[in-house]
């Protein structure tokens, strides 16, 4: 469904650019969840931002359902709708002064054909309809992340790009949001690109896992293979460093 080919993203001066993503190819199939792991500076977030159009790649192509996705933000509304992003920190990705109803309303104004029932949408992400009138700043971290999910789902996307979507949450709340994501993807037949530094969480939720290091994809395969029997030494070193609760 989503195909990223030879993606290259650079930052800084043209003469001496910093190569953040260096020739990454990646696919996400229909109803598939792909985990993207790596340490800070690996380029995983830049890949995500390129896919949703927040970053303009230097070269490479992104196709969605066989159609080329134009680089940057100038993409047709239909494609904008189809691919939605959920960020790590819901407190900084939601306007604290806006009510939940107006946050969702804004998404519906941009994509009027997707507009539907607010109460049903909130119920879908486990929120009571009474939060509709509350401002984002009045909500807990977990509630805010549910609102972020509702905003993404409001426009009926096909692919969710989740960048560390549970990393900033308390452990007990993280488990709720993971379960919610898994439920939502089943109920709405969503594909997901799930980016995280937490190998345990990725192992739970992803069908396939891709490992990035310094802008390069070093290993990719079924989740149980990549984390159960890694082929690349970098994946092995990540696993060696990962702590288990029982060992």
């Amino acid at each position: 469904m989503l195909e990223v080919r030879d993606l290259r993203v650079t930052f800084g001066p043209r003469r001496k650019p910093f190569v953040a993503v260096d020739g990454v190819s990646l696919t996400v199939g229909a109803n598939e969840t792909v985990g993207l792991v790596g340490e800070s500076g690996s380029g995983k977030t830049t890949v995500a931002r390129s896919i949703v159009g927040l970053v303009r790649p230097a070269s490479g192509s992104i196709t969605y359902d066989g159609r080329a996705v134009p680089a940057g933000t100038s993409r047709p509304g239909e494609l904008q709708r189809a691919i939605q992003m959920v960020f790590q920190d819901p407190r900084s990705s939601l306007n604290p002064w806006m009510t939940v109803a107006s946050i969702i309303g804004e998404a519906w104004r941009t994509h009027p054909s997707a507009a539907s029932d607010l109460d049903r949408l909130l119920a879908d992400v486990g929120l009571d309809s009474s939060v509709a009138g509350q401002r984002a700043s009045q909500l807990s971290g977990g509630q805010c992340q549910r609102v972020s999910l509702a905003r993404a789902l409001a426009v009926k996307p096909r692919l969710l790009v989740c960048d560390e979507a549970v990393s900033a949450l308390d452990v007990s709340v993280q488990a709720q949001i993971l379960r919610l994501l898994d439920d939502l993807r089943r109920r709405h037949n969503l594909s997901m690109l799930f980016i995280s530094h937490d190998l345990g969480v990725v192992h739970q939720i992803a069908d396939r896992i891709a490992v990035m290091r310094r802008g390069v994809l070093v290993e990719e395969g079924p989740a149980t293979d990549v984390l159960g029997a890694p082929q690349h030494e970098y994946t092995q070193s990540l696993l060696d460093a990962a702590l288990e609760l029982n060992s």
């Binding site: 340490e39 800070s40 807990s140 971290g141 977990g142 509630q143 308390d170 452990v171 007990s172 709340v173 993280q174 488990a175 709720q176 993971l178 379960r179 898994d182 530094h197 190998l199 345990g200 969480v201 192992h203 739970q204 939720i205 989740a223 149980t224 984390l227 159960g228 070193s237 990540l238 696993l239 060696d240 460093a241 990962a242 702590l243 288990e244 609760l245 029982n246 060992s247």
Partner: protein
């Protein structure tokens, strides 16, 4: 898991009935509510909790670093000396010397305009050592903290170091005062996993070699399992349960600990998603009556809504604040 105890019975610090009230908009908020635990010598004690659990406030109360207007009660017995009634200068004297601190963000703990050598050596210089002696000791400390070619790093500035190296510099700085207790608040939370593993190994070896005690504050159960001998699980400003780390994590005696343990996925094998607790962590400003955990607890009964469970022993060294601890243990 870390060995369950050091074998030493000497208590370094005895925290009993610690209470911290912070001024609130309407009324004071009790952010730490009757917290009691011991830190034996040569032992790492972990404070586990989510946001609002009071773990950082508890740690800060030990070193007297609380926000203005905070009212502290209870007792902090440091080797027979009551800290809460000690003079301000005595408590200042303790900080950085007998009790040293490491925080989450090394960049915030370091002065960006001073060299690493100057900052690590500050406490030594103030003790009146000669320049040569200070320099020699700083090189030793940087080396102990695992900074390669330490003699060449004395003139480096914090921005020239990576995150992991900065945290090592902060550790060297903490060791400079030759502390008996190292207080580490989320020391590896901001670091990448491979760096985190190395820093944790370093902290563990320093604790063992120097025979010092450590109070490790973290939300991360995996970190606790690898570093702490004993853990104190906090919820809404109170102790939910405490005991030897391996016992508490393998066989929780509180439903909250049980849920925390269940929510930590394995890394090398694929595990099913956990059954999450409903709701969000209670905070001290809206702490439910009775057992603060009852609205989220799968075992809650009428009694839990009205009667606050006292912390009680359920096995040697195991303390829990749950009316139905025996049920949790049997599960």
């Amino acid at each position: 898991m870390a060995e369950s105890s050091s074998g030493s019975d000497d208590l370094l610090l005895e925290v009993s009935g610690l209470v911290v009230d912070l001024p609130g908009r309407v009324r004071a908020v009790r952010v730490v509510d009757e917290v009691s635990f011991d830190i034996p010598s040569a032992t790492t004690v972990g404070l586990i909790g989510e946001s609002g659990s009071g773990k950082t406030m508890t740690a800060n109360a030990l070193i007297g670093l609380l926000p203005d207007g905070a009212i502290v009660g209870g007792s902090l017995n440091w080797r027979g000396e009551e800290l809460l009634t000690a003079t301000a200068s005595r408590r200042r004297g303790l900080r950085g010397h007998e009790i040293a601190m490491i925080f989450q963000d090394p960049l915030a703990a370091l002065n960006p305009t001073q060299t690493i050598g100057r900052q690590v050596g500050e406490i030594l210089r103030r003790s009146g050592k000669s320049r040569a002696a200070v320099r020699e000791r700083v090189v030793e400390l940087l080396d102990r903290a695992g900074i390669p070619a330490p003699a060449e790093k004395l003139g480096s500035f914090p921005h020239e170091f990576s995150g992991g190296m900065r945290q090592r510099a902060v550790i060297a700085m903490a060791l400079a005062g030759n502390p008996s207790l190292l207080l580490a608040d989320e020391p590896t939370t901001a670091l990448d996993v491979t760096v985190q593993a190395r820093i944790l190994r370093l902290l563990r070896s320093i604790q063992e070699d120097a025979g010092l005690s450590m109070l490790l504050v973290s939300h991360d159960l995996r970190v606790m399992a690898h570093v702490a001998h004993q853990v104190v699980v906090m919820y809404a400003g109170r102790v939910a349960e405490r005991g030897a780390t391996s016992d508490v994590l393998r066989q929780p005696a509180h439903p909250y600990t049980r849920a925390l343990v269940d929510s930590v996925p394995a890394v090398r094998t694929k595990t099913a998603l956990a059954h999450p607790l409903p709701g969000t962590p209670a905070t001290p400003s809206n702490r439910p009556a009775g057992c603060a955990f009852h609205p989220r607890c799968p075992l809650a009964r009428e009694r839990c809504r009205t009667e606050q469970p006292a912390l009680r022993a359920v096995a040697p060294g195991r303390w829990t604040a749950c009316h139905f601890a025996e049920k949790v243990l049997d599960a």
